[in-house]
């Protein structure tokens, strides 16, 4: 059984499923029970599970992350939510020095750290330098953490349920531009395993490795590539750590061409790691040098005049692939088909965040 719903609905559904299955699942974060319910992603939870299990908290990102770790050491499973990833930087000590290390530094003698932290990634409408950072590579760099970036409603549910029943700290990075995306979502206890990428489409000419919202842009590029006779493996990573190297490298060996598309800036990025590992592991299979598409190596500006052209989109993916294959692709229609201004995901988004 499945139903059509939004990504935001799927997140709330996943949380409710986990809270139903395990009475020790707690859900807290600034605004989880406020009138807007974190863009709808916590809708219905406070009514259904009550204030002891779903609660607002002090504006204390670091302290409350430690509280989540401590509660989990006593048997709770804690889901925390931050309306922007950027605020979670205040909690890095707790997540890196405590959550990520607890199993290792006590030689496996400690209780499991069963915490999940939802981090929402901003984009557009002037979110600017400190409301739109994509720091998945920071977190993926830390042994002991798990990092996932769901790109579809079904994955938003399946990965979150899996994360909530994992025995390790998991960070779930949710792109704000995906919240209103609709799709079929299985009902009930639906889980997508952590560490398994999705092969979105299959092709033979090029491997496009992508994540989160950029999966959507890659899918938009596909019809234009098809018109030029190009078929691609589009691999949606889903999990950044652990990363499904088998799927990525198998595809690269097959196509011999790699384009890594990231939502973040390039230096030490996930895209860099994909390119590096492909070069190290299957150099002889590569027909041409791998390429990356990332954000510029700058903070994100605020003014719409400055963000026009700042973010790579489907046309950039199509152009990169066409250059890699030496073919002409007409990308003018991609931008022409876009009805909304460049700094919103669609007409549904009227700001402010």
């Amino acid at each position: 059984m499945s139903r059509e719903c939004t990504y935001a609905d799927a997140v709330a559904d996943a949380t409710a499923v986990a809270m139903d299955l395990d009475p020790r699942v707690l859900c807290f974060g600034l605004g989880v029970d406020d009138p807007k319910r974190i863009f709808g992603t916590t809708a219905g939870l406070a009514e259904r599970f009550g204030p002891l299990r779903v609660f607002d908290m002090p504006t204390s990102e670091a302290g409350m992350t430690g509280v989540a770790i401590g509660a989990s050491l006593d048997g709770a499973r804690c889901l925390m939510t931050h309306q922007r990833l950027d605020f979670f930087l205040l909690a890095l000590d707790q997540i890196v020095n405590n959550a990520a290390k607890w199993q290792y530094m006590f030689g496996g003698q400690g209780s499991p750290v069963r915490i999940v932290v939802r981090l929402i990634l901003g984009r557009g409408w002037g979110q600017g330098p400190t409301h739109s950072q994509n720091l998945q590579s920071w977190f993926a760099h830390i042994p002991g953490l798990k990092v996932v970036m769901p790109s579809s409603p079904a994955d938003a549910k399946g990965l979150l349920v899996s994360a909530l029943f994992d025995d390790n700290p998991v960070l779930v990075l949710e792109h704000r531009w995906l919240h209103q995306m609709r799709g079929e979502v299985p009902e009930g206890d639906y889980r997508v395993p952590l560490g398994k990428a999705a092969l979105v489409t299959e092709g033979s000419d090029v491997t496009i490795v992508t994540m989160s919202y950029m999966t959507v842009e890659a899918i938009h590029a596909l019809p234009f590539l098809h018109k030029a006779g190009i078929s691609a493996d589009v691999i949606d990573l889903r999990s950044i750590r652990p990363l499904d190297w088998d799927t990525v490298l198998h595809s690269v060996r097959k196509t011999g061409r790699l384009l890594a598309v990231d939502t973040a800036s390039p230096m030490c990025s996930v895209a860099s790691e994909i390119v590096a590992t492909a070069a190290c592991e299957c150099f002889s299979h590569l027909k041409i040098p791998p390429r990356r598409i990332t954000l510029p190596d700058y903070p994100v500006p605020t003014s719409p005049a400055l963000t026009a052209g700042f973010y790579p989109r489907a046309e950039h993916i199509a152009v990169a692939v066409s250059e890699m294959l030496g073919r002409e692709v007409d990308v003018r229609q991609i931008a022409a088909a876009r009805k909304s201004p460049h700094d919103v995901p669609g007409d549904w988004f009227k700001g402010p965040f």
Binding site: L26, G66, I69, G70, D74, D93, W102, F106, D167
Partner: protein, 332 residues
């Protein structure tokens, strides 16, 4: 659950025994450190044993505790295994953290010691989270958080205590004020005239302070606090003044460095908590010379055996460095 009686009934002999035991093992670590077989930093509590001993006895075995970098005596006083503590410092497989943690990362879940970590104040919110879970389980347990005077300068201290006050969590915040953060005295870290417990009272929790080198006072205050917490009174913050004799990190005395004076050290040393309490119990007839000798012999035998265990234990295999990254099915 059986609760210890508060206040008056102080377990005097157990207190002295615990203090002397903690002193003995810490001094033995200091004495053997130059052998270079304990190859990790150690933060000794010599001079501060009274607080650990008294709070350790006041806590129920089912209570939970966390601590920071100077945690040997908290771990032992909560009931942690001495052989496994020493094996950990020696980097051995039988160590309480299997050699992964060393002196600053101790754990013994079987006795409710949920972990000590090295980043100042890092376990204060974790102990607070233990308190949150305890309260949601409607348990009578208390989470005890050990930390020093520098930890109250960290942001997470305020964040955690604030949350505990909002939710009236069953947490005992136990601050050992030894006046120094490494070499930095309180006067460069906190405004003149500040009394830490008075500042914390402003956060909305019950507070008290006392002489940490008076073990009976610490025992009574901790016991009373635990009774109040178990009765639903919310978190309590206790500040105890005490003094570390040896260097911040390592086995030596360091008064020659000049960050504190020899005279200050000698003043504290002259009123040594272990010797003072021992004399008091002898004078009052609670113990005899004979029973004291027997107590000391038993402690020395325990410490000697624990060192022998640690020294004789095998090291972990190199491949063990690549285990325990994840828990459960997520393990690698």
């Amino acid at each position: 659950m059986t609760l210890r009686a508060p206040s008056q009934e102080v377990p005097q002999v157990e207190l002295l025994h615990s203090m002397k035991r903690l002193r003995c093992v810490e001094e033995a670590i200091a004495a053997r450190y130059s052998e270079e077989r304990m190859r990790c930093p150690v933060h000794l509590s010599v001079g501060q044993e009274s607080v650990s001993a008294a709070v350790g006895l006041a806590l129920a075995p089912t209570d939970l505790a966390v601590s920071g970098h100077r945690a040997h005596t908290h771990y032992l006083a909560k009931g942690g295994s001495m052989p496994r503590l020493l094996a950990e410092i020696y980097g051995k497989r039988a160590g309480c953290s299997r050699g992964k943690g060393g002196s600053m990362h101790l754990i013994d879940e079987g006795v409710g010691f949920k972990g000590s970590t090295a980043i100042v104040a890092g376990t204060i919110p974790i102990g607070t989270g233990l308190g949150l879970s305890i309260s949601l389980r409607n348990s009578q347990q208390v989470a005890c958080v050990f930390f020093g005077d520098a930890a109250v300068e960290e942001g997470v201290f305020f964040e955690a205590v604030n949350f505990a006050a909002v939710r009236r969590l069953p947490v005992l915040y136990l601050c050992e004020n030894n006046f120094y953060s490494v070499y930095s005295p309180l006067r460069v870290r906190q405004p003149e005239g500040r009394r830490i417990h008075e500042m914390v009272a402003g956060l909305g929790v019950s507070v008290a302070h006392g002489d940490g080198n008076d073990p009976e006072l610490v025992y009574r205050m901790a016991s009373d606090a635990l009774v109040a917490i178990r009765a639903g009174g919310g978190p309590v913050f206790l500040e105890f003044t005490t003094y570390r004799y040896r260097e911040h990190c390592g086995p030596n005395f360091d008064n020659d460095l000049g960050y504190r004076t020899e005279a200050e050290f000698l003043r504290w040393r002259a009123a040594d908590p272990v010797e003072t309490y021992e004399a008091r119990l002898l004078d009052s007839g609670v113990i005899t010379r004979q029973s004291l000798v027997a107590m000391e012999a038993e402690i020395v035998a325990e410490v000697t055996a624990a060192f022998a265990f640690a020294e004789a234990s095998p090291f972990p295999e190199p491949v063990d460095a690549y285990r325990d990254l994840y828990s459960g099915e997520g393990g690698e």
